[in-house]
Amino acid sequence: MSAKTRLPTGQEAIAVKGWLGAHKWLLARRASQVFFLAIFLVGPWLGWRIVDGTLAGSRTLKVLPLTDPFIALQGILAGHWPELTALVGALIVLVAYALIGGRMYCSWVCPINPVTDAAHWLHAKFDIPKGWQPKRHTRLWLLGTVLVVSGLTGTVAWEILNPITMVHRGLVFGMGAAWGIVVAVFLFDLFVSRRGWCGHLCPVGAFYGLLGQGSLLRVSASKRAACDDCMDCFAVCPEMQVITPALRGKGDETPLILSPDCTNCGRCIDVCSVDVFTFTHRFDRRIDDVTQPAKPHVAEKAA
């Protein structure tokens, strides 16, 4: 651990790159979340019919169908083979996320992400104990459970609870008591389990994670030799277990973050004052040489 570990998260990056430079991916991500909400909302609010429907299923400019493949899968297991429109829509979404990274849905589109990010922000601010930390594969078990229940009950089971579509549908069509579910997720993440919902439980995230196993767009710790152990990337990463293999890899071990848990949120890129991380593709295994390594033990090893 370096002395920098104790500095407030992101302070150094702001000092080196400026506030904007240290938040550009975060801002881009918030803009993306607002954008994906807004294109659904301008229909009911302003009468501009750009995208009709919700995240569960939509129709863009009257032609392009999109369907949530996880919901479509539950429907199929429930015993209903969907019409071609829904199948095509699900296929488009499947292919797109398989290419760019399944969990980009989580960090760039999902309307629950700002809620759990806010909870985490408060969590860090008030230094609340991290609480219950279920195993990382809990969400995979939950995903399996949801699919089994769909099959056994003949319903699209997760839609009874799914906070994502609940809040999205609520904003587009009328909220009802769906606020309660949003508040519940927020409070759960704040007091019960740090990063609990998105990071440990949500079966939708688990599904998209599996979907993006082999995705092309990846974050690479290509300049890991420059790492000064400030630990800020671990502090901001919602799935911090994904960083270690890439950042701490020895020799020619891949610098790519290949874990399907990585949401491609880009916060590690923002928060790193020495720009260790960068967005690249999964075949870019380049490891940059750093002529002036900031890390003492790397220098020792080189000697």
């Binding site: 009709d52 969907p82 429109t85 003949g154 089971a157 839609e159 009874i160 069509f173 309660g180």
Partner: protein
């Protein structure tokens, strides 16, 4: 972990079955699959609601509306289905939860209208309200006016609005238009509105017509014992004694 999942799964299964209890006044859009199939087919996208030109359809909101959260429904007394000929809601459905084989809106079966309260229906009171009959999009087929004698006034007719379930689409315009503060005619889900005849039950007159003759050979057609002069009623030759005899008249006349 497996145990935890079993508990979570049971909880989720309970919620899904709980959500199946569709309230009687909530009607599904035209072409909706039977409720059990519908809940496995509808992805709660809201495209049918978006394309409904009369804002009839709504998506059920958590905690406020009875149907499963996010599924489309309408309440006839609030906004009835206008039975668009191009059925935009069915065309909008990406999954087929609203069955695309429904191409003629007159064949829709969203429910069945039932005249639930004859005691308050103005037509049954002998008045000529006729509103449900007049507004019915399938007038004279789904609802007819059946004449009968008005016993109260003694010399008027009762025009009873009568629903013919095989032609009723369940659009709810009759219920919406009923002039009473609480509608006397209501669209009910078919499961509540209709009986089904037992599988083993055969109607003798239909069987006989199909057979062209009585089903049992050698039946002896005994004379019917009707009261009155000229019959073979041996118990009371010339007919039964009337129970009540008007003063000044004689028996048998």
């Amino acid at each position: 972990m497996a145990g935890g999942c079993a508990v979570a799964g049971l909880g989720l299964a309970y919620l899904t079955t709980d959500a199946r209890a569709l309230p009687a006044e909530a009607l599904r859009p035209p072409g909706a699959l039977p409720e059990d199939d519908f809940l496995g087919a509808c992805i709660r996208c809201g495209l049918c609601v978006r394309d409904c030109p009369y804002d009839t359809l709504k998506l059920a909101e958590l905690g406020y509306d009875g149907p499963a959260t996010g599924t489309p429904f309408f309440t006839a007394r609030e906004v009835a289905c206008e039975m668009c000929e191009d059925i935009p809601c069915v065309a909008a459905c990406p999954t087929g939860a609203l069955d695309p084989s429904l191409t003629d809106i007159d064949k829709a079966k969203m429910g069945t209208a039932v005249l639930v309260d004859q005691e308050n229906c103005l037509n049954f009171l002998g008045l000529r309200c006729d509103v449900c009959y007049r507004v019915c999009p399938v007038i004279d087929e789904a609802i007819t006016l059946e004449l009968s004698h008005n016993d109260r006034s003694g010399h008027h007719a009762i025009f009873a609005p009568t629903v013919h379930a095989d032609r009723c689409t369940g659009c709810g315009i009759c219920e919406k238009s009923c002039v009473l503060p609480e509608a006397a005619i209501k669209v009910l889900p078919i499961r509540l509105a209709r009986a089904t005849s037992a599988d083993h039950y055969r109607k003798g007159w239909e069987e006989q017509e199909q057979n062209g003759a009585p089903l049992v050979d050698g039946l002896i057609d005994l004379p019917d014992r009707l009261p009155g002069p000229g019959t073979d009623n041996l118990a009371a030759p010339g007919g039964f004694e009337p129970v009540f005899q008007l003063p000044g008249t004689e028996a048998g006349q």
